[in-house]
Each structure stands twice: as C-alpha cells, then as structure tokens.
Amino acid sequence: MTITTPIRPLPASPPPAPAPKRRRGVSSGDGLRTLFSETEIGRGKGRVLYWVVLTLVFLLFLTVFIFPLYWMFSSAVKTPEEYAQPDPTFFPQSFVPETYQLAWDRMRIAKFFGNTALYAFGGWLIQLVFQVAVAYALSKLRPIFGRVVLGAMLASLMLPATALLIPAYLTVTDVPIFGWNLLNTPWALWLPAVANAFNIYVLKRFFDQIPNDLLDSAALDGAGRFRVLWSIVLPLSRPVLGVVSIFSIVAIWKDFIWPLLVLQDPETQTLSVALSRLASTSQVPPTQLMAGLAIASVPMIVVFLIFQRSIIGGLAAGSMKG
C-alpha cells in the first residue's frame, strides 16, 4: 500500500551528505531560489503573508500528522470511563499509566513485541548475509550468466507482491525439493525476505564503485575472496549497509498481509497481526488497545528520528533519478 518502494530499482547513490546547517531567518541567502524570491517574502505585505501562511501550515501539520499520535499516546492513560465519554477530552483528566503495563502483560504485547523483534532482526541478518553475498559475487567475481541472474532477480521487482500471495503461501506450506512446512515459523518471513532484488541492486551498484585495483592488491597479498569481502568491501560499504539495514527492518516491522497469512498461530504472530486480531474481539479494553498501538509505533518513531537523514535522503535520492 505504500508508494515508497519504486518497482524499478533506482540507481543507488550514497545518501547525500547532510546539507550545511542554514542560518535561520527569512533572508538566509542560501541561494536556493524557489517560486517566491527572498525580496517578495522578506518585505512588507509579503512578509506578513508569509508568516500567516507559515503559521497556518504549521498548525495544519500539527493537527493532521502529529495530533493523531498525541491522541494515541494520551488516550492510553485515560480511564476507560473517560475514554468512552461522548465528548473526548483533549488533555487526559485521569492518569493511569499502568494501562501500558497492563497491555504489555495482559494483552501479552510483550510476547508479540518479542516475536516481531525476532522476525525483524533475524530477517535483517539473514537478508544482509545472502544479499551481500549475491551482490559481491555479481559485482566483483563476475561469473558467467551473472547478468542473466541479475536480470531474473530484477524482473521480480515488476511483480506486485500481492499477485504472488496465494502461490507463495502454498509454497511456504510445502517448500519444493526440501519438503519443509514453514507455516508459523520465522523462516516463513525470513526466506522470502531474502528475495528482495531492490536491496541486491543497491548493494551491487555500491560495490561496483569500489575500485578493483584495491581488491587486486589485497589478492596479491594472499587474501582470499572471502577475506577481501570481509576486510575491504564491507568496511567501505558502511553507508549503503546502513540504508539497506534500515529499510529491511522497517519493512518487516510494518508488513501486514504476509505475516497475517503465514503466522496464523497466535503464539507466533507479529505485533501488527496480533493487534488486528485483538481489535476484532471485544474483550480488550480500548485503552489497552491504544497502549498496544503506541507500543507498536515507538520503535518505528525512534528509528525514524535517529535515521531520518538516511531515510529521507534515500527516498529523495531515489526519486531524483527516476
């Protein structure tokens, strides 16, 4: 449902270096000319209008994008009675932070949180290992049919995930050749996650930029292919590994429909799927459910606030090259 992942891989470039901090002030003179010039915005009527619009846009963003989150965190601490009032209170009049504790224990959010963390970090690790190996082989070992392999992988980007949902589900119930049934196991999320051509493409493009001379001189010193990867390529690739890591973890944390299908046993469910199931039953007090939603959001909000430069930069860099 998001349009953040382009179907076609976009040329990978390391996220743009953080822009130098601009001086605050209307006429900052940073040379960035937009629709309105600094003089139009900086003087007389334009200046007044600018501040009015700025305030309105600020309030709009606050209301539309931040307020729902405030609502989520603050509703959870209300008593169920206050929560169910026909006229909602903006500031909670009651304060029951224990609701978070209750949700964590009694709704067993702890369990589902742990599951999701296991899936996200395990998936991240296994993806990184396999995807780096493929990208390194394609970029630096250049085997015969390498281009065919890359092409076949990239072709999968054209397939909307939902169109494969049913056959992929059946595959997971009975993996060909191996005969495994992966339903209700972490592998049902981990292995399909490896088949992410976008990450492989991004990694390969980055490895391509590492000069071969560097690797050759290491090989002359007697370093094997694996040693070269481990001690030269990977340390040089930290930025791209970071971006790929963030996107892998966020993707698994946010995923809904696939875990809904392959993790039907409540014991194994992700936080998202468990919240969806709990929300459809009437036994759960709504304030506890709110607390559950808040708990599910916190890791993503934290990741975003820490890595916002990489995330926004990666998104912008991708779209620029179309």
């Binding site: 449902m1 998001t2 349009i3 179907i7 960035l32 000319r33 937009t34 629709l35 010039s37 600018y50 619009v53 700025l54 846009v57 600020f58 539309v64 994008f65 931040i66 009032q85 026909p86 909602p88 290992v129 396999f130 190996a133 493929v134 390194y136 070992l141 085997p143 076949a152 999968s156 397939l159 909307p160 995930a161 939902t162 169109a163 494969l164 049913i166 056959p167 059946l170 993996v175 292995l191 399909p192 490896v194 088949a195 492989i200 292919r225 946010k254 809904f256 998202s272 799927v273 919240l275 929300a279 939603l293 993503m300 975003f304 926004i312 998104l315 912008a316 779209s319 620029m320 179309g322």
Partner: protein, 303 residues
C-alpha cells in the same frame, strides 16, 4: 604439435582453472540468494498461473479443471463489485493522494522556517505500522464517541456514520490510506522541487510573470515527469488495497470488498478455494502488469 605449444597450454590451463574456480566461488556465494528467489519469487509466479487452472484440496494432488476457476469467479456477483470498488478506491485515492502531496510539497518548499519539522511530520505516518493508522482512525470514525463526529458537532455540521454507512465507507477508507501514505510522495515531490534551477524562476520574474504564472509555467512543467511516475506508482499501490477494508469494514461487506479482499476471502475464509483465488490473482496481475509496463516505458525513455 605437442612440442610447439608446450608452454602455452599450461598458461591457458591455469587461467582456465582460475576462471572455473572464480565461477564456482561466485555461484557458491550466490547459491542461498538464488535459492530464495527461485523458491519464493520465480516458482510462485509459474505456480500461480498453473494453479489458476487447477483445483487443490490438500489431500490428493492438484488436478486440472480447465477454466472452471475463471468461470466460477466471473459468475460470482462479488466479482464485479470487487473490481468496481477497487476502481472507486483508486479513483478517490488519486483525487486526494495525487493533489495533496503536490500542494503540501510546494508549500513546504516555500517555507523558510521549520522545513525539517514539516518533512519529518509528513513522513511520520508512513513509518508507523499500517495497522496503527487504521485502528487509530477506527476510533476517530466511531459514530458515537469518535473524534471526527465530535469535531463535526462542534462546528455545527451534520454527523457522519463514516465506515458504517455504505455512502461514506469508501471515502473513509481512502482518508486513512491517504493519511498513512502521502508522506512518500510529498518527499519525492519536494526533492524534485529542490532540483528546479533557480534561474528559471528569476528569468520568469524578470519577464514579469506573477507567482501564479511562475507556478503554472515553471514549477508544474518541471515536475511533469515525477508527477507521471508517482501517478503510476500510486495506481499500482492503491489497486492492491487490503488492510483498510480488511480491518475497518470487514471482508464480507459488499460496499468495500476489493479485489485483494476477495482473493483473501476465496483462499482463507468463505470458500477455501485456492484455485479461484489464484485465478483472481492472475487477473489482478495482468491489470497491474499493464501499469507496470507503462511505468517501465516512461522511466526508460527518461534514461
């Protein structure tokens, strides 16, 4: 002859053996990745098409049923409803999801303050697990004590049944979906806006173009490509809508049953019929593939 080429074959052989060694090494590195692609991407694609002509009961082997699955879905009254609903959803989502990010990004780009805040705020909902946005809005939509009706009452407007009335259900789903997803498009527009050369605006200004004319004749033409790309991506994304109807209105509500919901229903709830679900998936795939092909063409021409 053996004497004449004695030196070269060894060099050749060692180069050849090195090449073979490198290839073996490379495929050893790629084995895991290729296996995952083969099992969970390439094979399911083929399996999906085959499955649409088969019936499966988990007891015996799958057996061929010809085009029975397709006949069955065409005869299902929900088939037309689901496609119609999906198109309506995509249509309304385009009205909001196409215009709003564009306007927001132009606004953000003109701001000389708080740019960082605007960027973070607009993308925050995209970071949340989708279920969070959906369940949060479920409370906002509540006809009794929900926030939206409280606000409507407060400003003296008639209240709405939101997701619980057939006339407003779809638009309610679009609203939450737009809220949760518009950040991505907004940031992409913003990046495109920032790459518009400032001289274009200066030249237009020197020619006496008003702000409105600058917007129409400089900004919009410069954004044309990214607008087209995002339009296509959005169509592809919204046609696969699932979580909003699944959670907010249920899988058996004819007002909001979409193609994905119907596929889910066929396979996992009502019918337990993977053949029908696969047939429907193939149809969805064909429709989406058309937009994907246009997208590919558009972006390739650009290169």
């Amino acid at each position: 002859m053996a004497v004449a080429t004695a030196g070269r074959p060894t060099a050749l052989r060692s180069r050849l053996s090195r090449k073979i060694q490198d290839n073996l090494m490379a495929y050893a590195f790629m084995a895991g990745g290729i296996a995952c692609f083969a099992l969970f991407s390439w094979y399911p694609l083929v399996r999906g098409v085959i499955l649409s002509f088969q019936q499966i009961n988990f007891v015996t082997d799958p057996y061929w049923v010809g085009t029975d699955n397709f006949t069955a879905i065409f005869e299902d009254p929900l088939f037309v409803t689901a496609w119609k609903n999906t198109l309506v959803f995509t249509g309304i989502a385009l009205v909001f999801g196409f215009a709003v990010p564009l306007v927001l990004s132009i606004l953000i780009n003109e701001m000389r303050h708080l740019k960082g805040f605007f960027r973070v705020a607009v993308y925050l909902p995209v970071m949340l697990p989708p279920i969070v946005g959906v369940l949060l809005f479920r409370y906002f939509y509540d006809p009794g004590f929900g926030l939206f009706n409280t606000v409507l009452r407060g400003v003296g407007l008639p209240e709405s049944q939101w997701t619980q009335s057939s006339s407003t259900a779809m638009i309610s789903l679009v609203l939450v979906s737009t809220w949760a997803n518009l950040g991505g498009a907004t940031l992409m527009y913003l990046a495109a806006l920032q790459s518009i050369p400032g001289e274009l605006y200066e030249a237009a200004e020197l020619d006496g173009a008003s702000a409105w004319r600058r917007l129409r004749h400089v900004t919009v033409p410069q954004l044309r490509f990214i607008m087209l790309v995002l339009l296509l991506l959005q169509i592809i994304a919204t046609m696969q809508v699932f979580i909003e109807p699944y959670q907010l209105t249920g899988t058996s509500n004819p007002d909001t049953v979409t193609v994905m919901v119907l596929i889910y229903r066929y396979a996992f709830t009502v019918n337990q019929d993977f053949g029908m679900a696969a047939a429907m998936s193939v149809l969805l795939f064909v429709v989406l593939a058309i937009f994907s092909a246009i997208y590919l063409r558009v972006t390739r021409d650009r290169d």
